[in-house]
């Protein structure tokens, strides 16, 4: 490696790490011995490129392991902890499970964390992924270490906010209403600003009065985790701002990109749009090859001749992903909506824009990706009489049973699917339906995307057994664009929604 490169790398690293504004929040998470991930302090000194790459890849493996185990939830918590402990050991990161870190371990922890911060700072979706896994990692570390939580609380000086016993006495009813297993005898509460415990606020697991949350001692752990999340978010946003300045440092950037690039597993590249699929084929296709989410939407539109914004997005982009051309899409929506009493003129004025927008022909002209399962499952829930979303998650058991009955699968298969739904394994449930409705083969290597479901179904049904794995493992540069357009999409959707008011 030549010196020039080394020098530039050093500059890159240190300048990037040196973005560390004061944290305004009252609670301080830094300065806890041996926990560099909380960092304000960036690593100093320099490391070789090999080390750089090695550390980062190692940590990435740890985070991926966490993600994987997280996806397959439904395990007993204890079981999960044990498994993760083994995982860390196998990966050579057993120090994550201990209180005492050697100097080397500390460096490894610190440096790798910071490299990945940079790698994942670039796009919103990636940041989110990184933060989720890192937070889960801290949670595990708190499980493994007896003293960590206490040390963190000490630094946060929480004890001064403890709620006096008399007040707890008066609030017995209120506090009991927020917490299962409330026990007056050992009730210890801390009064904190509601902004410090947003998760508890959104799930109504905390008593609020005049802007203060009464935090039970049992929730201290999630309190710390939440602080950590916010802290990371701020740090990543900061790093992101700095990134454009680093763009010219090619080698590093390439490496960082490669690190974060292919690893999200949710990108999907739209098929070259052709005129293969026309809209009169959709009924037929929906019967055999649609996943339940899209089938539900398709049938809903067929009956009601209407769908609300979210539903139009979800189905419209799926159609695009199938390779339905813009013209055919327009034709489909127009026919349906007209049957629902919306005349062509109104359609062209109000809805056609949306359809073209999905195809990147309006607004910012971004080419939007069809929604992945993750997005469908985790983002906006249907309300009222909307029917977008994932039926395994967003339907009650009875409705799901009805939907499955129409697919004419065996009673066992139905029960299996309902069982999986109950445990929250939505994508696995979806794969079960695939298996039950297709000869022999199941889906290749997990289900991430409704369009993947569709394509694999088509491949099997048309007797063409060439796998479409390549689709999902497109090279990282392509993913990069997919990720980007995803971001744009959110922006644009924002803008659209901003105007989605009554007119």
């Amino acid at each position: 490696m030549d010196f020039g490169q080394l020098k530039s790398k050093r500059r890159t690293l240190s300048s990037a790490f040196n973005v560390n504004p004061e944290i305004k929040k009252s609670v301080n998470l830094d300065g806890v011995n041996g926990f560099h991930s909380f960092y304000k302090m960036p690593p100093s000194g320099s490391i070789t490129l090999q080390q750089f790459e090695y550390y980062a890849l190692e940590r990435l493996k740890v985070l991926k392991a966490i993600e994987l185990n997280n996806v397959l939830k439904g395990k007993k918590f204890k079981e999960y902890c044990d498994e993760m402990r083994d995982e860390f050991r196998n990966l050579g990161w057993q120090f994550l499970c201990t209180d005492r870190l050697s100097k080397e371990d500390e460096e490894k922890d610190l440096v790798s964390h910071h490299i990945l911060r940079l790698a994942y700072a670039k796009s919103e979706g990636k940041r989110q992924w990184f933060i989720t896994q890192e937070t889960e990692l801290l949670k595990l570390r708190m499980m493994f270490s007896n003293s960590l939580l206490n040390r963190l609380l000490e630094v946060n000086q929480l004890s001064s906010n403890q709620v006096p016993a008399e007040e707890i006495n008066e609030l017995t009813d209120e506090l009991r209403g927020c917490q299962t297993g409330f026990n007056m005898a050992n009730a210890v509460y801390y009064k904190v600003d509601f902004e410090e415990v947003l998760q508890l606020v959104s799930s109504r697991k905390v008593y609020l009065s005049q802007g203060y949350a009464y935090l039970p001692a049992s929730e201290l752990q999630s309190f710390v985790l939440n602080k950590y999340k916010i802290h990371l978010k701020e740090q990543l946003a900061m790093a992101c701002k700095l990134m454009p300045g680093l763009e010219e440092e090619n080698r590093i950037m390439r490496q960082l990109k490669a690190l974060s690039g292919g690893d999200l597993g949710t990108g999907y590249t739209t098929k070259a749009v052709g005129d293969k699929i026309t809209c009169d084929m959709l009924d037929q296709l929906s019967l055999r090859s649609y996943p339940l989410c899209m089938q539900t939407l398709h049938n809903h539109i067929k009956v009601k001749h209407h769908a609300k914004h979210e539903g139009r997005m979800q189905y419209g982009l799926f159609l695009k992903g199938m390779g339905v051309s813009l013209e055919e899409s327009l034709k489909y929506w127009r026919t349906q909506f007209c049957k629902g009493g919306i005349d062509t003129e109104k359609f062209d004025k109000t809805y056609a824009y949306n359809v073209r927008h999905n195809y990147g022909k309006e607004g910012k002209r971004a080419d939007y990706s069809p929604f992945s399962c993750l997005k469908i499952i985790s983002s906006s829930e249907p309300k009222g009489d909307e029917c977008h979303g994932c039926p395994y998650k967003h339907s009650d058991e009875l409705s799901l049973r009805h939907l499955l009955e129409k697919r004419k699968i065996s009673a066992e298969a139905t029960e299996e699917i309902l069982g999986l739904k109950r445990q929250g394994h939505y994508q696995v449930a979806c794969m079960s339906l695939f298996k039950a409705t297709h000869p022999k083969e199941g889906l290749h290597g997990g289900l991430q995307h409704p369009n993947q479901y569709f394509e694999e179904s088509q491949t099997i049904l048309s007797g063409n057994s060439e796998t479409s794995d390549s689709k999902m493992t497109a090279d990282s540069s392509e993913k990069e664009t997919a990720g980007k357009s995803n971001d744009n999409k959110e922006n644009i959707q924002d803008i659209e929604d901003e105007f989605d008011d009554e007119m």
Binding site: G177, C178, S209, G211, P382, H394, D396
Partner: protein, 422 residues
């Protein structure tokens, strides 16, 4: 079905181009409006960096407008005569100059915490109308929503400056103007909105409210206390929601309590429920009371909010506020400004006085047409401010009342700052 209230709305939206200039020239309360959005204590740039956006005739959007002061704003609004004005965020720099700064340096920083409650989200629990239509039979849903959310925002979150506004057609908006609210992060806004959301799920989720057995968050308990003041009248008299077999089945589909189901069966096999909403609802309440007695509580006619938890779920599904969470979440989300005219109804988006929310009648809100008529026929004293000659007067006064507490509170906090520096 409840008698739908006939609304003789003589509004003709083609009058907009003719009447809007008069409205903006004589009636729109610029002074008060400016006094509000200036937020004196927050520094001189607060108003300058605020985004306004217009919707002109034929749905032409103009975004990112901003003004140095009241005069500039007045001039622009009067010359463009927007059909709709939206208020956006306060940005890091003046929105009209956004092209002159680097991308990434034009960022939405502050905005009131806002809520949007829209009657279309209640279509599955209204028998009277659907979609964009409203009537006096369904309006109580808004009254209930306002009361519940107002209570939670003031008591639970400690906010003091809430401006409730009629959206001009089928819903209401809430602007929380406390400094703390204006500074909230997107995540905090989402959390507050989630805290206030209870009814979950779409067409394929029949039971949309599921409470934990034996554990009721105090905010929901208090919501139920509010709901029980309205429920019988709303459910039976105004909506008549159990008159058809289908409606009755829908409700029975929400009952999960085994004992209650057994009691229902028993009654169906003997005397039956009767045919009207009133009878059916009375029988159901009786059954739930019986259920309570079997739990040990004495009960002949319990107040609704003390009914067993399955009954609570039912009442909440029918009447608990349904927020559009997306509107609340984003700092940069635009929301229609108070005192706009709704182009479809011609009505002014007037503030709703929380102390008189029960008597607020959306059909009595003046239309642009009413107002200009009133101006034209005014015979009284000549040098009165124009709005005082019209039925807009009480609404502007209620807005002024809101402004007085807002500024009083702010001067108080100014004093505190001065004290500490002295």
């Amino acid at each position: 079905m409840a008698p739908a209230v006939e609304v003789s709305n003589s509004w003709d939206s083609s009058l907009m181009p003719e009447l809007l200039p008069i409205y903006y020239k004589k009636l729109f309360p610029f002074t008060q409006y400016f006094k509000w959005l200036r937020y004196k204590e927050s520094g001189p740039n607060y108003f300058k960096n605020r985004e306004f956006s217009f919707t002109l005739k034929d749905d032409i959007y103009l975004r990112y407008r901003s003004y140095a002061d009241q005069a500039e704003m007045e001039k622009d609004i009067r010359s463009k005569c927007p059909y709709k004005i939206d208020i956006g965020a306060v940005y890091t720099c003046s929105p009209k100059l956004r092209d002159m700064v680097r991308a990434g340096e034009f960022v939405a920083q502050y905005k009131e915490l806002v809520f949007d409650i829209d009657m279309t989200d209640y279509d599955d629990v209204r028998s009277c109308c659907s979609g964009a239509d409203i009537c006096l039979s369904c309006w109580p849903l808004m009254t209930i929503a306002i009361k519940i959310i107002h209570r939670a925002l003031t008591e639970d979150f400690g906010f003091k400056h809430l401006l409730w506004v009629y959206s001009g057609r089928r819903g209401v908006h809430c602007w929380v103007c406390d400094e703390k609210a204006r500074k909230l992060s997107a995540a905090a806004r989402a959390a507050v909105a989630e805290y206030l959301s209870l009814v979950k799920g779409g067409a394929n989720m029949k039971k949309k409210v599921i409470l934990k057995y034996n554990q009721l968050h105090v905010s929901i308990r208090k919501a139920l206390e509010i709901i029980s003041d309205y429920f019988d009248d709303y459910f039976v008299n105004r909506q008549d929601l159990l008159s058809t077999e289908e409606q009755f089945q829908t409700l029975k589909g929400l009952i999960t309590d085994e004992q209650v189901l057994a009691l229902i069966k028993e009654l169906e096999d003997t005397d039956g429920f009767g045919e009207t909403s009133k009878l059916r609802w009375a029988c159901l309440k009786g059954i739930f009371c019986k259920r309570m007695s079997s739990e040990g509580s004495v009960c002949t006619s319990a107040p609704l909010h003390e009914m067993p938890h399955n009954m609570k779920e039912i009442m909440l599904q029918y009447t608990y506020p349904r927020l559009d969470v997306n509107v609340s979440k984003g700092v940069n989300h635009l929301l229609k400004s108070p005192f706009c005219i709704h182009p479809k109804t011609g009505r002014v988006c007037v503030p709703i006085d929380i102390n008189h929310v029960d008597t607020f009648d959306p059909f009595k809100v003046p239309t642009l047409h009413d107002l200009t008529e009133q101006l034209a026929v005014w015979k009284g004293e000549g040098n009165l401010l124009d709005y005082k000659k019209t039925s807009l007067k009480p609404y502007i006064e209620s807005f002024e009342k809101f402004l007085t507490t807002l500024s009083k509170h702010n001067t108080e906090s100014d004093n505190i700052v001065m004290d500490t520096t002295a």
